[in-house]
Amino acid sequence: MRMLLTLLRKDIANFTRNRTALTLTFVVPIALIFIFGQVFGLNRKDTGPIGIRLAVVNESSNPAAEKLVAALQTETAFRLVTDEDKNGQGKRPLTEADARRLIHDRDLRFAVIIPADVIPENGFGLRLKILSDSRNQIESQMVTGLLQRTIFTSVPELLGQSLQTRAKQFLGEGRFDRFNTTLAEAVANTYGGDKAEIQRRIASGDFGLSALASPTRDSASPTSANKNSAASALSNLVKIETEQVVGKNVRSPEATRVIGGQAIMFLLFAISGSSAAFFDEKNAGLFQRLLSAPLTRGQLLWSRFLFGVLLGLVQLTSLFVAGSLMYGVDIFGHLGPLIVVCCAAAAACASFGMLIAAVAPNSQAASGLATFVVMMMSATGGAWFPLTLMPEFMQLIGKFTIVYWSIEGFLQVLWAGSSLLQVLPIVGILTAISVAVMTISIWLLNRKRIFE
């Protein structure tokens, strides 16, 4: 027993003095639990996406359309964009063409078009259009669901108006007014209330139909079956036309959506391995031997960076080719821009590997730190789930990661089919990240006297 306790004490002492083991055991899981908690809305009032930019084009002069816009505005999931100041000429309301352009330009991914004839002259019901760039399937499904929920909550009033319009056309103005007056009198006499107010509400199309729609969200209630039927009836009256503006011709949408995120995550892991090897080389005295040859520290560091880039390119190439062969991801149709984005992403990842080597004190710590940072970057950068499912501060953090910009680049090429010119801004950002991170890394490595 004493032997057992001695050995146990040895293991505990070894473990508690190993910072890498401690980080991987406690810090990584807790940090990931926090991120998952944020994604799934644990301890948050509003679950689901937050702050998704949604263009709303209101071409209708009908006051009820304004109410639909107001209803969308109350959704925390959306940050509405209703106008724009193009070329500094003052703000003007968005048109459908503007919305399409904004989606094409990646400024936003969803738009709701309320057409001028939202309530058709010759028919009963509503007509709406949703434009989307569903580059992220989960986000897309959630947003479409939220839009439909909001629309159906506001729809009854719009339907009432539709009914009123049709009745006025059919009866003529005089008979229509008499009909409304008689109806208001009957309601007031039967249920009580102010006759004038009831008549005003009837004239505005408010027949209390919303009571049919809103409870459908509570499917656990005893009468949910009836209410769902009512909502179903409403949905038949509302024609929502959805149009995928970007990526509709993508050959293998599911694989195309995920391949970029997975590729960049695995690349970061591979590069991390090479930053741990940096220490092995130092510990083996190889730096001393290399630097006693006529070469500079800068040449040594840049050669490692170039190796990282090359490793990255080979790995990305093999992953994309595998994605193409196994899942039909179209890479050959976008070869030029894809290679450029791959180079930029590989450079950014290689610089990350150098930073890990500069910050970590040894090989073990480098592995632990890299695992931690790669997982954090993958989680917050959108490799695992959409950024919009996280609180806004985490969305902001995510935008400072290599993962986010690499995924953006890959989707821009493979999903949106962008040209080389169109992906240049993302390539520029990735290049800027590489330069900044390499500058910091070289400064830190020289300060650390790793070569002495």
């Binding site: 510990n283 083996a284 190889l286 630097l291």
Partner: protein, 305 residues
């Protein structure tokens, strides 16, 4: 050829080299002897241009050696203390990489690699991964890697650590041959046997200071005695031992007495004492003192303490 002029190097509060001045002439086999942490590796790294001195100057043929002077390193060959080789690669690949770093190309590089492999008896293992080599083979390759570009000065920082005596002797033979061919060598070690065998001149270093400098004979003049007298510690020699404590320094190790006579001690006195005790001459041997004794005398402690 190599000159240290008042060189000081500090790491924070620790002074690794303290006002060191030293000259190594062309063709010399210069030994740097000192315990671990004495400043040997720091001195070597200053020559190799891996570090810059805080004050003073290190020059090779009048050219300052520093991390900034990359070109000067073509004159140097460095054999680090560790086996600094890429173990996944073959012997030939390692030699090719380091040869190319020194600017060797084409047939010249091929010839030098061939010569190097033959010289250290690794020609038949040229395509084998270094990780499959024995410690001695790795050490030999480690050494020859520093010679491909024909340096003027070879720096060997404890190049025989952890190898068997046979491989050590092979390395010694090789280094001696190189030195005979004119190569200047600086050899750092904490093994006095190595310094004694190889070096024409030795610098004894401790706590960052050169305590003594010269050939083995010159270093031994630092000692207050020339020879040591050894005899077994037995009851028969007990009285003699007791008497000798008045005449010099007597130490006991491994059941043998070691007597270092004081400067004024006369041999006739020793004969008188042995005759008085009727001790036969065969019990006594005389030995020349070693570098260990020099180090002990200079620092008050043993080399490996």
């Amino acid at each position: 050829m190599l000159q240290f002029t008042s060189v000081t190097k500090r790491y924070g509060a620790l002074t690794a080299l303290d006002d060191v001045s030293l000259t190594v002439a062309r063709g010399e086999f210069f030994g740097l002897l000192g315990p671990n942490g004495a400043g040997k590796s720091t001195l070597m790294s200053l020559v190799a241009g891996l570090r810059a001195p805080d004050s003073g100057r290190v020059t090779l043929d009048g050219v300052a050696l520093s991390p900034a002077n990359v070109a000067a390193r073509t004159s140097l060959g460095v054999v680090p203390q560790q086996i600094a080789l890429y173990e996944e690669l073959s012997a030939e690949q390692n030699l090719r990489i380091f040869g190319e770093l020194y600017g060797l190309r084409g047939s010249l590089l091929r010839d030098r690699i061939e010569e190097a492999l033959v010289a250290v008896q690794l020609a038949d293992r040229r395509r084998h991964q270094v990780k499959t080599f024995s410690g001695g083979m790795m050490r030999r390759l480690n050494l020859v890697t520093a010679l491909l570009h024909r340096p003027k000065l070879l720096l060997c920082d404890e190049p025989t650590v952890g190898i068997d005596p046979q491989s050590r002797n092979a390395i010694f033979d090789f280094l001696e041959q190189l030195n005979r061919e004119g190569l200047t060598i600086i050899y750092s070690t904490h093994y006095m046997e190595e310094a004694t065998r190889l070096c024409s001149r030795i610098g004894v270093i401790d706590h960052g200071k050169i305590l003594a400098l010269g050939s083995l004979d010159e270093l031994l003049t630092h000692l207050p005695f020339d020879e040591e007298i050894h005899f077994p510690a037995t009851p028969a020699t007990a009285t003699l031992a007791s008497e000798l404590t008045r005449c010099g320094e007597l130490t006991l190790a491994d059941e043998r007495h070691r007597f270092r006579p004081s400067a004024d001690f006369k041999l006739s006195e020793f004969y008188r004492l042995t005759e008085a005790q009727a001790l036969p001459a065969r019990l006594f041997t005389t030995e020349r003192p070693t570098l260990e004794a020099v180090f002990l005398h200079l620092t008050g402690r043993k080399l490996r303490e």
